[in-house]
Symmetry: C2
Subunit: 487 residues, 2 copies
């Protein structure tokens, strides 16, 4: 094939497919590259020309190009377009399509890669910040400092529990927030997802019951199900779990584990009242369940009065506290920790050991300095002020542009708003219609372990800046109002 | 307490305990440091003084100090001794003792940290190279190159299957060795142990049967048992599994998975004959089992005629090929891959995703350059020539100094010799006696899933240089000859 004349208009995209147009275009272009039909140095068509040739929005092309660049298939040079990257060669065509959008995690993480400065697409789907917010120079400096200091030890064996100085630095960090913590009760892990998986393996046997909030984080459901556990959902209200429901079900099912996000829950943004925190812990004590508290994003509490985690109320060592350093701020870093009740430390350590021996020593050593030198805290402060503005912008825009029948309980913080639609509207339909207008957001369905109601939307402002937020919410308002229901 | 006068001689060590003296000493000193009894800047006693005060060998003290340094509790300055590190503070005393030596992995990895230039102790226990063999500057350069090139993307979200350019670089690396490989069938993982764990989760349900060689790598047993699988051992002969035994058992148990190391098996060093490779694959095909091939250390084949992996014979996509880049050469890096049969790619990807989302993107990007720029291959070549000398030295010393009744089948390569003792000798007793003479090695017992015979020793030359190897094998010969049995 003479690639100079490759006919891009022959690319087939299916509108109204489950897969986003940009994901489809990414897939088609990726196939052309890995099959060698477009080879190294090939200049891809300019965004607007390809968009008009395919009859799609330029934003869709930009998104597909970004995703290709992120994954190393193409490289872009400012002012001169996008080229097929040097690394591609004679690899045969890919069999595996990228996952459909119905796989939330894949979708979420992929849309995370749409850049904030994408001029066409407004991304309310991703709950991960864009790479431009990451403080690369600081981290580079601590990496170099570690390599110069530790030499080969930086790549040598690491204790499975984690690099001691890092565990200690974490214990100080927690103590400063009023949480009793000792380095010996800290288990370093490779991200929050691994923490959930390790706790599932350490505590659950086939057929055991686990309670989760409903809705909840789907990655947790996947880990519990993989372990052969049975999931029982407890309805989430805007001040925490439905307590009578919890009480009834805990008596019947005797769960080994309760997975909860007490502060700024994902996806709802709800936080537990103090009374419900105490009831949850009390019931766990009475029925001998362990609570896994996933502190998803409490650094971004915008209420001015940050809440302590459940763990701070844990008097009889019943709460495992899970916190990621990478999830929100450096997702590719893969670093998190568990603060363990002492009786569970050695069991969890053994599971960590047979799961992956240890977390990258280099990462641990670098992050140890990052934390000790106060860079992490400065980074959080910077991120906090950026998102505080977006948070207020999003809430104001929702109030201004969405019909009052769309309910949004004001979250204390975080990166998302949870929108509840009035009867008669379909969240999926709204998501599809919004996408056709280049506004991406998530239907709530992905967050319900079963029988997902088609009634919720999660609107995240992790990626879009203030102007985009206003523009996107305005479009969303128009989409909702166009659904033909009296609002 | 006035730490200037801390009475180190009050430290209690138990000789003939299960825990090595150096691990006990490490534990005691660590407790003094984390409890604040020895605070920042405190100068520890010189090695020889502490050794004579406690009535132990200086090598034991050196080993304990090295382990403390490795884990960040102390720092050593050349010529001026060892100080309690800055990071320690008012942390309360540790409850968790370090694992006893009976936990092979812990022991192995801890002893990995004894430096090659330790003048007193000869370490034949660790099968990991010492940090001085790691090419730190090269890796630092690729890290800096990645950070300058990719900026925040280096910490952004990574595809769960792995960074595409790295997967492609791996496929080229495999193709160069005659293995059919495509980037789309490569799954990046965080070390070989995670590979075993992920395959266990992807393929095994509670109660399924898994076949392993006997003896085998204990980390695999731990992962399979954690999954609720039932282990069936197949005797390992010096040319591969006992085939009649495999045939009988595969008919009865119908295993889902067979875990095998066809080249330079751990711990025996045995490699499969071509006939046995074909029988293993043929039986797996007939009884519909998947083979997980762990290519532990085939880079260090010293025979001059390296064997292709089982995977090269895999005509009907039945072999999963597992290979670590970090296990032997950069254990703290946590990077490995699975070459998957295409039908299993998406299942394994989903399990990877709920296990830890993805492997560190920074590590993947840096290793991609490391591989593409040929640094990895140069590093392997350098390591190869260092270990070739040790291998010949160890085999010659075994022939010279050990009684002929101690049988050592010459391995094709690797970092260990597997010694079979004549009836009447106890491997555990020999290990204990050798340790009292500052020679550390492993009894074979740890490698048998059940009913471990007290008849084997694993002697590794990953850490000791040629002179130490000769000295240590000579001592081992004396220890064996002193056991009172006619040899």
């Amino acid at each position: 094939m003479n690639e100079q004349f490759f006919d891009f208009v022959s690319i087939q995209l299916v509108k109204n497919s489950k897969a986003s147009l940009y994901v489809q275009l990414y897939d088609r272009l990726r196939e052309l590259i890995v099959s060698g039909k477009l080879s190294h140095g090939y200049l891809l068509p300019p965004v607007r020309r390809l968009a008009s040739g395919l009859g799609i929005n330029p934003g869709t092309v930009v998104s597909a190009y970004k995703l290709l660049e992120q994954n190393g298939y193409i490289c872009s040079r400012a002012g001169s377009g996008s080229y097929v990257a040097e690394i591609t060669g004679s690899i045969a065509a890919a069999d595996e399509p990228v996952a459909a959008d119905t796989d939330l995690d894949m979708f979420e993480t992929k849309s995370a890669m749409l850049l904030a400065n994408n001029k066409h697409c407004i991304d309310f789907a991703s709950a991960m910040p864009t790479p431009d917010l990451l403080s690369i120079d600081d981290f580079k400096n601590v990496l170099i400092e570690v390599l110069d200091r530790d030499k080969g030890f930086a790549f040598g064996y690491q204790e499975s529990q984690g690099f001691y100085p890092l565990r200690e630095a974490i214990s100080y960090y927690l103590q400063a927030q009023g949480i009793k913590a000792q380095a010996d009760n800290v288990q370093i892990i490779s991200g929050a997802q691994q923490g959930i998986d390790i706790i599932a393996k350490a505590l659950l046997n086939f057929g055991d019951y686990v309670f989760t909030e409903n809705p909840t984080y789907p990655g947790a459901i996947a880990a519990f199900r993989s372990r052969g556990a049975k999931i029982v959902e407890i309805g989430m209200e805007n001040d925490g779990m439905n307590i009578p429901e919890l009480e009834n079900k805990i008596r019947s099912f005797r769960p080994k584990l309760i997975y909860a996000m007490a502060n700024i829950q994902n996806p709802t943004g709800y936080s537990y009242s103090l009374a419900k925190r105490n009831r949850l812990i009390g019931l766990a004590r009475r029925y001998n369940a362990i609570i896994l508290e996933d502190d998803y994003i409490s650094e971004l509490d915008f209420s001015g009065v940050p809440l302590a985690p459940l763990k701070a109320l844990d008097r009889d060592q019943r709460v495992i506290y899970l916190k990621s350093f990478s999830k929100i701020f450096m997702p590719g870093l893969r670093l998190a920790f568990l603060l363990m009740p002492p009786p569970l430390v050695s069991k969890v350590l053994a599971v960590k050991h047979h799961s992956d021996i240890s977390t990258s020593g280099l990462t641990q050593r670098a992050f140890d300095l990052y934390l000790r030198q106060g860079i992490w805290q400065r980074h959080i402060a910077a991120i906090h002020s950026i998102y505080l503005e977006r948070y207020h912008t999003a809430l104001a825009a929702i109030q201004q542009f969405l019909p009052p029948a769309v309910v949004c309980h004001r979250p204390r913080g975080g990166l998302s708003c949870w929108l509840s639609l009035p009867a008669g509207l379909s969240a999926r339909k709204i998501v599809a219609d919004a996408e056709s207008r280049d506004v991406l957001l998530l239907p709530g369905t992905a967050f319900f372990p079963r029988r997902p109601p088609d009634q919720f939307l999660r609107l995240s402002f992790a990626v879009a800046g203030p102007e985009k937020i206003v523009e996107g919410v305005k479009i969303l308002g128009e989409v909702i109002k166009s659904q033909g229901t009296v609002l």
